[in-house]
């Protein structure tokens, strides 16, 4: 057999062995307490050619209560926290260079802590809805009819359709985060791709730099 063919066989063997050993160690290790999620957090992806079920994470993009206005993202990590994740926050948000400076920054892979508010979810939504409706009534100037209809639906059906996974913290060290958030049934720590976004603050009372979750990674 040609030596290069042996390399091809070796690549396939090594790769499968590494994956299966890793999966075996993961699956047959000590299992933690289970977490009950439903379609609010796991979205079933429709597929025509694929008979397998594919689910994707659905998370709150901003800490509850989500802003119903045209702001890019509410801040759930301050500049110090963003810097600790590797983002460069050396330019003040009000600086004229800020939009370009933050626009050039690339996404990073970090661990995000999600608060799974399962027990008191309905109470939290009920407490949020009146204020959200009040802000919705004032949103005519900044949102078109279609966006307003979607927003209305989001507010009215938040309890039944909104994801209960609310991001509260992020870091690079999984063990340190788990030490800080030890309750595995309340806090999920998931790898995610996050980026910084610059919000000019036209509708939110001042410029700010916020974090946005682009993708929750499989883990």
């Amino acid at each position: 057999m040609h030596r290069a063919s042996l390399v091809a066989f070796a690549v396939v063997t090594a790769l499968n062995a590494a994956v299966l050993l890793g999966v075996g160690r993961d699956r047959f290790g000590a299992a933690g307490p289970g977490v009950w999620l439903d379609e609010r957090e796991l979205q079933l992806e429709p597929a025509r050619e694929n008979s397998a079920a594919i689910v994707r994470w659905r998370v709150q993009q901003t800490p509850w209560p989500a802003s119903p206005f045209a702001t890019t993202s509410r801040r759930w990590l301050d500049e110090a926290a963003l810097t600790s994740l590797g983002f460069d926050c050396s330019v003040r948000p009000g600086d004229p260079q800020a939009p370009e400076f933050y626009g050039r920054q690339l996404n990073r892979r970090v661990f995000v802590v999600f608060d799974l508010a399962s027990d008191d979810w309905d109470q939290r939504v009920a407490a949020w809805q009146p204020a959200a409706r009040e802000r919705f009534d004032r949103s005519e100037a900044v949102l078109d009819a279609s966006a307003r209809a979607t927003l209305r639906e989001t507010i009215d059906e938040a309890s039944a359709r909104g994801s209960r996974l609310v991001p509260v913290d992020a870091g690079l060290d999984l063990d340190a985060l788990r030490g800080e958030y030890p309750d595995r049934q309340r806090h999920l720590i998931l790898p995610a791709v996050v980026g910084v976004v610059y919000d000019s603050g036209v509708h939110s009372g001042g410029p700010l730099v916020a974090v946005r979750i682009h993708q929750v990674l499989p883990s």
């Binding site: 030596r3 063919s5 396939v12 050619e49 008979s51 590797g86 626009g103 990073r108 791709v193 499989p218």
Partner: protein, 358 residues
């Protein structure tokens, strides 16, 4: 082969060139005899014909070369059919597996993935060793690559594995291994591109940035492409048709990355104003493509010269658009572009004449 001396071919491409020379020599002799420029005795003619026949038979037997123009045409048709067939079979296997995927248990899914990759590799080995099935080797190599892709992506989906840049490296190593084992040029191009992309992804990954954002920092592709070009400078003793492909693909990646940075300065690692970055890379694009033309012409690397010419023209046209498109009448703009193309043709013709003289 009769009278096998130092000039005997060692590789398939050398053998093909020898066969082509013999065919050309036979045609020219026939023409010269008809025109009365040459008169071989019937004994000399028969001796030369027998010698050529023996050499061609030997080349066809040892290297499986095409010894006639008709054979060449059929071979090209077989290559196209093999490529299309490989792609279609790969797509068919992939879509079939998707269709039944949800009906299988996890163990069965893993078994299907392993069988697909190992089975297609074994099939490739079998086909490449059997003389009568050897023409199916390029197709079987593509199916093996599809089987490997399915294996990798399938495991990632079944066990919810996070995508990593090492996956790209695995694709590169596998494609290159198949390319070198079975003289597969398409897989060589795929493998070289994956290798360059994995270099770019690993460089970005080392800075803490999400590795799939490597395309947003094209400088990594300049490094990856340059490494592929360097690989194309290494002499390939038996696979002498590979270096031009490596040089061509590597240079293409380098120049595409420079071109991207010349229009999108925000994508650079250089912490400078985007306009300054773009201007720098515009100059670099002219220098790099002109250098490629010069090196390609002097060294006889046609692929390097071709890629250089292509990017030099793209760079020139872009500058013309930047300078004149908005305010100049369009007929004048295209007149200038056409005259510039004619000037370049004239310059290349002079260069060609000088190369011929030297």
């Amino acid at each position: 082969m009769p009278a096998r001396g130092d000039g005997s071919p060692r590789t398939r491409s050398e053998a093909q060139r020898r066969a082509d020379r013999i065919r050309a020599c036979q045609d020219e002799l026939e023409q010269a005899t008809r025109d009365g420029g040459l008169a071989l005795t019937s004994e000399q003619g028969a001796q030369l014909k027998a010698y050529h026949h023996d050499v061609l038979s030997s080349l066809a037997r040892d290297f499986d070369v095409d010894v006639s123009s008709r054979q060449k045409q059929v071979s090209r048709g077989m290559q196209v059919a093999g490529l299309l067939g490989g792609l279609a079979l790969g797509a068919s296997v992939f879509l079939f597996v998707l269709r039944i995927w949800g009906l299988l248990s996890t163990t069965a899914q893993v078994a299907v993935l392993l069988t697909g990759s190992f089975g297609s590799l074994l099939l490739l080995e079998l086909v490449s060793r059997r003389e009568r099935l050897r023409f199916l080797t390029p197709l079987a190599a593509l199916v093996a690559f599809a089987g490997f892709s399915l294996n990798l992506e399938g495991l990632a989906k079944v066990f919810a594995l996070e995508p990593r840049p090492t996956g790209l490296l695995a694709y590169a190593v596998f494609a290159l291994a198949l390319a070198y084992a079975h003289r597969h040029r398409l897989l060589l191009v795929v493998g070289a591109s994956c290798a360059a992309a994995s270099v770019a992804a690993l460089l970005v990954h080392l800075t803490g940035v999400w590795w799939m954002d490597a395309v947003m920092r094209p400088e990594g592709f300049i490094v990856g492409g340059a490494l592929v070009v360097v690989a194309g400078l290494v002499p390939h003793r038996t696979l002498d048709e590979f270096p031009p492909y490596l040089r061509g693909v590597g240079l293409l990646l380098v120049l595409v990355a420079i071109l991207a940075l010349s229009r999108f300065g925000e994508g650079s690692w250089i912490a400078a104003a985007p306009e300054a970055v773009e201007a720098t890379y515009q100059v670099l694009l002219f220098i790099a493509s002109a250098a490629a033309i010069g090196i390609g012409m002097t060294r006889g690397w046609h692929e390097v010269a071709l890629v250089g010419v292509l990017f030099f023209l793209i760079a020139l046209c872009m500058k013309f658009v930047d300078w004149w498109w908005d305010w100049m009448p369009k007929y004048l703009f295209f007149l200038i572009v056409g005259l510039t193309a004619l000037a370049l043709l004239w310059a290349f013709r002079r260069l060609r004449a000088r190369l011929t003289a030297s």
